[in-house]
Structures are given as structure tokens and as C-alpha cells.
Amino acid sequence: MVSNNLFLEILLILIKIAVVLGIVLLHAAYTVYAERKIIGRMQARLGPTEVGPYGLLQPIADLLKLLTKEDIIPLEAERLIFLVAPLIVLTFAIVNLSVIPFHPSFIIADVNIGILLILAGASLAVYGIILGGWSSGSKYSLLGGLRSAAQVLSYEIPLGMSLAGVILAAESFKLSDIVNHQAQSFFGMNAIPQILGFIVFLICAFAETNRAPFDLPEAESELVAGYVTEYSGFRMGMFFLAEYISIYVMSLLIVHCYFGGWTLPGWLLTIFPPLKFVPAPLILLIKVYFFVFLFIWVRATYPRYRFDQLMSMCWKILIPVSLLNFLIVAFLKRGGF
């Protein structure tokens, strides 16, 4: 009887995972398409047009191409580490999805330390970058891996510090508690009282996902392709899939932590009452789409930073500012606001 229940429970979890993975992977694949299309338009080009109507089948063609490409392992490489590194990155990018609620009652793993699990996944995914760059046996990979590792590590500190402000406001690690706390608060979202933390988090989200303007791994003019230089075929695809999944994870985190998730702020509802009838998933989806569009928009707009500028910005500006934000929130909360 007990084992029967367990079996049913596992089946339920598997169905949930399949739904989430299906939605997110579809989105990730079509974000690649949307990115090429949008950046093309911004640069007065057309983007992909050949495969299918308006180039809509382009992601499927890309996937097939990546699957059928040759899998090259360089002669100098440490074979085992070289093979495992992309798997580490992809696995922990996917695991981060498990603690994010997509609907008031839809979450894969309802654990008490939700946000901490995302941070843990991010800090373990760094190993994929470091080991992948180290084991390739190429000088560009080595230097690129070192640089991306230093970048991702540095930006984890202000990211976690600005998240600490959000956690302090709600006094819970659960993302659903954070969303509910915002719905009951005066402003209806954390982004207004914690504007400093929000800006720091946004900058760190770009750096954590290795996106422009912090895309040093893709700095073609300096380091070829960073730690992915020697990777080919589906292994390179895994790195890029992980990047696009983590764009969605970061967008969802921004929306849940700073913009009230699936809720709308109370003052907006009193100004414009018909908004009450908008379904919760639609609100979440629109907010997330906006931030994914922001990721693409920034890539088309800003030039790349130099590495020492990147480091000094993190340690000299972002960390003190996020600390200031945290102290402001702590003193306000202690004062009874």
C-alpha cells in the first residue's frame, strides 16, 4: 500500500517535470529564434527566413544540426573531465527550475529553502565552466574558462546580497511566500522600495548568464569562444541550452522577487478594476517575456566591457551598493515600516 502511494507520487512528480521541461525547452528554443530575428531587425537585417514560414522551423533545424555534428575530443584533453563538464552545467541549469513556482499552486518541489537551492545550483554550475576550460587542452579555453569563472564567481556576491534584501522583506526562502508578501505590501512590488537592489540584481543577472554586455566567453576578437572553443556538436549545444534556460530562470527570479510574480499591485487594481479578471499565468508570462526581451535588447544595444572594468565594477560599485540596500531594508524593517 505504501509503495503504491510512492509510485503514484513519483509518477505525479514526473508529469509535473515533463510539463515544466516541455514549456521551458520550447521557450528556450524559440528564444534563440526570437533573438536572431529581433537583433536582425534592430540592425536593419531580416534574420532567419529560409526554414519554414518566416523561418519558424529554424530552432528544429539547429537542433538537428547540433545532434548530427561530429563530436571532437582534442588530443591534449583530460578526457573524462572534458566529457562531464557540459553535463554539469546543463543539469544544474535544469535543477534550478524545480523550486520556481509557475502558478500559485504549481511548483515541482515545495521546499523551505527555495532560493538557496537556486544559489546552490548556480555555485555548482561554476564547476562545469572551470573544468571545461581547464580540461580542453587549448590556451584559449584555459584563459576563457578562468575569466568566465572569475566573472561568474564575483557576480554571485552582489546577486546573493540583493536577494538577501528580498528575503529579509518576506522573512522566508520560499518564492511563493515572497510573492504573497509583495501582494500584501504597500507598494505591491519590491522593486519600488528596493530600487537599488533591483538594479544590482538586473546587472548581475546579465553577468551570471554570460550575456552581453558581459559576454566575455564569446569575445571572439580576444579569446575565440572562451571555454567552449574546443567543444563541438551537441556538447556545445548543451552549454548554449543551459545559457538560454538560465535566462528564463533569471527572468522568473526577477519577476518573482521584485515585480510580484503572478499578482498585480493593489494600487493598479483600484485605478483600473477590470485587471482583476486577467488570469494569473498570463500576468506572469507577460512579465517574463518583457525581461527576456530586455536581455535581447541589451545585447543589441551595449558594447562589451573590458575584463578589468568588469571586475572593478563588481567589487567597487555593486557590492557596496547592494550592501547599502540591505542595510536600508534592515533598518527600515527594524524601525517598524
Binding site: V2, E78, L80, I81, V111, N112, I113, L116, L117, L119, A120, S123, L124, V126, Y127, I130, L131, W134, L142, G145, L146, A149, L153, F173
Partner: protein, 166 residues
Amino acid sequence: MARPLFMSIFLLLFLALFLLLFRQKKVVYQFLVYLVMMVLLGIVYLFLGSEFLMAFQIIVYAGAILVMFLFFLYLYPEEEFKIQDMRNSTLIKTLIPSLLFVITLILILFTFDVREYEASASVYSVKELAKLIYNQYPLAIFLLAFILTYPMIAIYLLMKGSESDD
């Protein structure tokens, strides 16, 4: 019901990792075995009723402290990481204390009986842990801040050395 199953799996995994440690010839692989061990230890903390310790172990220990070690791999040429065992005489001399330790431990494990556990389990929330640490032992935390500044000062000495090196 499920706890003995999981714990025996963990015991087997740790034993397998321990045996795997003997076979590795390079520092990198020994480090990787150790890394897996530490992540598993975090999951063992979960079975000790402490979610926060798991998060701390994985974020801070596996995600920050051991990463420092990996940066060394970047800093040194490769020949340095092919290591050999010590000479035989030292091996025997130094293995004796550890064997003595293990024998003592096994004796303790299987001769002494444990106390009866309390009926109500001790799965505490993070809030109670925070109250204990910050309300009752504030001085420890404050001293920890000074201990954590030592590496920062040591970095400066390191960098100072590197300038004279060039």
C-alpha cells in the same frame, strides 16, 4: 522505512568514493572525488534534519572554498600535478597512527550502546538556528568577522610578493 534504505545507499557511496581515492594518480581526480564526497555530505545533512546546513555546505563549502583550490590548477604548470606516493618507510610510519585511530573508532562504535532518543524529533527551522546564533552567541559571530579579514590582508602580502617577482 525509507531512512535505512537511503542511509545504506549513502554508506555504500562513501565507501565507493573512498576506494576510488586509492586509484587516482592525479591531483585533479583526487580533488574531484573529494568534491563529490562533500556534495554527498551536504545531502547527508538533509537526513540530519538541517536543510540550511545542506545549503551552507553546498553554497559555501563546495561552491566557494573548494573553488579556490581549483584556481590553483590554473596557476601551476601541469607537471606539478602528477604526484607520487611517499617513500615506503614514511608510509608505514605514518599509517600506524591512522590505523590506531580507526581501530579505536570501530571499538567505540560497536561496544558502547547509545542513549535512548527523545520521542519528539529535532527538526528545527532556520529561524530557531538564527535565534540561537545571533541572540545567544553574538561574540562568536563578531570574532568571526575579524578571522575572515585575515585572508584579505594575506592577499595583499601575496600580491606584494608578486610585484617583486617580476
